[in-house]
């Protein structure tokens, strides 16, 4: 894969972030604004410095490059769905589903696995999830999110 000028991307990203925060400055009081204003200005200046560096002596490297790229993408999408659906489906149920999906997908031997193998995996996951659910909800009194299923 082609190497990218990561300094250039990094400087543009930080300048955009500085711009977004600057646009949110609004009507802060004098003492509430002094620190963030200084920090945004410093971020903009240092980002410009990084931008200049990207033109003079850029750091070039491949980005988002992994041996198993698709695995990383599937994992990332699954964990995002895990969090998004937690409140709707319920923490325990979505954790079991997402955990099982990741474990099964990342299993290089999944095509050779029998239903029994999958059930054993599912059992292991259920034990782990329920154990932590019980520890948190009963011992620590942390009410994990419940959804329409559990």
């Amino acid at each position: 894969m082609k190497e990218k000028n990561v300094d250039l991307y990094a400087s543009i990203l930080m300048l955009v972030i500085a711009g977004i925060f600057w646009s949110q400055m609004g009507s802060f009081t004098k003492f509430g604004a002094i620190f963030p204003r200084a920090i945004i200005v410093l971020l903009a200046i240092s980002s410009i410095g990084l931008f200049v560096k990207s033109l003079l002596s850029p750091e070039k490297k491949t980005i988002f490059e992994h041996k198993e790229k698709l695995d990383a993408v599937v994992f990332l999408v699954t964990i995002i769905l895990w969090v998004v659906l937690m409140k709707i489906i319920g923490f325990v149920v979505i954790s079991i589903i997402a955990y099982f999906v990741i474990t099964t997908y990342l299993d290089t031997e999944r095509k050779n696995r029998t239903i029994k193998n999958h059930l054993v995996t599912l059992g292991f996951i259920c034990i782990q999830v329920f154990a932590f659910y019980l520890v948190f909800s009963i011992l620590l009194h942390v009410p994990v999110p419940h959804g329409f299923l559990f």
Binding site: D7, F35, I63, A72, I102, T103, F132
Partner: protein
């Protein structure tokens, strides 16, 4: 006398001894898993300490921290993969020794050296903290402002290959710290219309996100079969023989522990730097430098004594000034604050019993580590190194959800954790190290409070900014900031010059 008795009673309470043992064991297990750092071990277990008494909670976290730094040596020695960044140097000689079939000896060397270094670090914490706490009374808002700047200059130069990216990352962290209600003035800032952001970005949530999620994505992306186990051979009499061999090199042990202690005290520098500096010094001091890298015990002693020395010493700036010496210490700072304990002189007066119990418990935990490590280390390695990534990655993510959610029982924190994780992954790909960002986040509120309070203090002055440049301690701190900020630049220029000369 009354305090000493109270501390003794607290430490030797059966419940606390069990927590020390459990914490050390859990920390070791986490540290032994490649990719799981001491930061993650402490962060994941913080929620469990919420309902404990402050003493028990802190004892557990201290034991986990020490155990995790030590536990990193297992995978470093046996699979050539440092379990934590603090064990990078251990791979240099530990793995070659294991390949010779002496893995058990290497583990024993690492265990004894880790315990020794850990004890030295804790002794420094116990005996240096009170005078530093007295000195911290002289610190006013301007000094705290400069202390935060000093902390930032160090991390910016140490934690990143690129100095400018370290600086940009640190400033980005400072900016994130301004989200929420302003510490002075009460302005609601940068919430982007979300009321959940009024409380700001929780430090522990950000730490879990920035460190854990990018590591998990990398772990999965690098391939599900990336971990391989190695057979562990056990022989009789190894412990006694190795114990004597290690103590035959007191110079190496003491030098490495001192290096670890000094590096640990500096905010931002931790075991990851100490172990390499110490390895380098051990090699330089050795008469037989060629042995290094081939499985010599001096190398293992140096790295392991140094990295565990940083555990105790890293707490010195934390308990006295509220400046965490390393990311795990930052989480312990969060736990202290959640328990209503504010770092500084108050810890040594109002809460002296809790503070000293915590410190002495780390001493006991280091001794326990020898037993747990030598007896259980080999078996533990067999289990953790065979755990496939397909189980490891979702298990860790499951724990990060619980860890983030339990802080405030707020699902928004889980979203913030995931958001920080995705941002952290993108920034990591763009060459940013999470260290400076998180130090910025940690130091942001201290810097802002110092800045604004100083300005309020100087309202009657002709020049309001003069308060930052006229107090003696402030001046010392300014010089330290300048030296710390300029030194990496000088070093880089020197290296470039040497490189150019070599090319000629």
């Amino acid at each position: 006398m009354e305090l000493a008795l109270k501390v003794l009673v607290n430490i030797f309470a059966i419940k606390n001894l069990i927590l020390m043992l459990a914490g050390t064991t859990f920390g070791m297990m986490m540290g032994a898993l490649p990719g799981l750092t001491a930061t993650m071990a402490v962060a994941l277990l913080v929620p469990f300490t919420f309902t404990m008494e402050p003493v028990s909670g802190l004892i557990t976290l201290g034991a986990i921290y020490g155990g995790a730094i030590y536990g990193g040596c297992f995978s470093a020695i046996l699979v050539n993969t440092p379990g934590t960044p603090s064990s990078i140097g251990t791979t240099f000689d530990g793995f070659p020794m294991a390949k010779k079939g002496e893995g058990d000896r290497a583990i024993t060397i690492a265990t004894i050296a880790s315990a020794f270094g850990g004890i030295i670090g804790v002794l420094v914490l116990i005996f240096l903290s009170p005078p530093l706490a007295k000195a911290s009374l002289k610190f006013g808002p301007p000094e705290y402002f400069w202390v935060s700047i000093f902390g930032l200059t160090i991390i910016a130069s140490l934690a990143s290959k690129s100095i400018i990216k370290g600086i940009v990352g640190g400033i980005f962290g400072l900016l994130v710290s301004t989200i929420g209600i302003a510490p002075i003035g009460g302005d609601v800032r940068f919430t982007f219309g979300l009321s959940s952001f009024q409380g700001g970005v929780q430090l522990i949530v950000a730490l879990i996100g920035f460190f854990c999620i990018p590591e998990l994505i990398k772990m999965v992306g690098d391939g599900a079969q990336s971990m391989h186990a190695m057979e562990v051979k056990t022989r009789k009499g190894v412990f006694g023989r190795t114990f004597r061999e290690v103590f035959k090199m007191p110079g190496n042990l003491i030098r490495s522990s001192i290096i670890g202690t000094i590096v640990g005290i500096i905010p931002g520098a931790g075991g990851n730097i100490a172990n390499l500096v110490s390895y380098n010094e051990a090699k330089r001091a050795s008469k037989d430098q060629e042995k290094f890298g081939t499985g010599c015990m001096e190398g293992i002693v140096a790295t392991e004594a140094a990295n565990n020395a940083t555990v105790g010493s890293g707490m010195v700036p934390l308990v006295t000034l509220g400046i965490p010496g390393a990311p795990p210490a930052a989480i312990i700072l969060g736990a202290l604050m959640l328990q209503g304990l504010r770092p500084g002189p108050e810890l040594f007066s109002t809460h002296a019993d809790i503070t000293y119990t915590f410190m002495f418990s780390m001493l006991i935990a280091n001794i326990m580590m020898v037993g747990v490590g030598v007896l259980g280390g080999r078996g533990l390695h067999k289990v953790v190194s065979k755990l496939p990534v397909r189980f490891l990655a979702p298990s860790i993510f499951f724990l990060t959800i619980l860890g983030s959610y339990a802080i405030r029982n707020n699902i928004v924190d889980v979203f913030v954790m995931l958001g920080c994780g995705v941002i952290g992954y993108i920034l990591r790909e763009l060459g940013f190290h999470p260290g400076p960002i998180l130090l910025g986040l940690i130091l942001g509120s201290i810097a802002e409070q110092g800045l604004v309070q100083s300005m309020l203090m100087s309202m009657g002055r002709a020049n309001r900014w003069s308060i930052f440049f006229t107090r003696p301690i402030s001046l010392i701190l300014i010089v330290m900031c300048l030296v710390s900020a300029i030194w990496p630049l000088i070093k880089e220029m020197r290296e470039r010059k040497i490189g150019k000369e070599a090319a000629k």
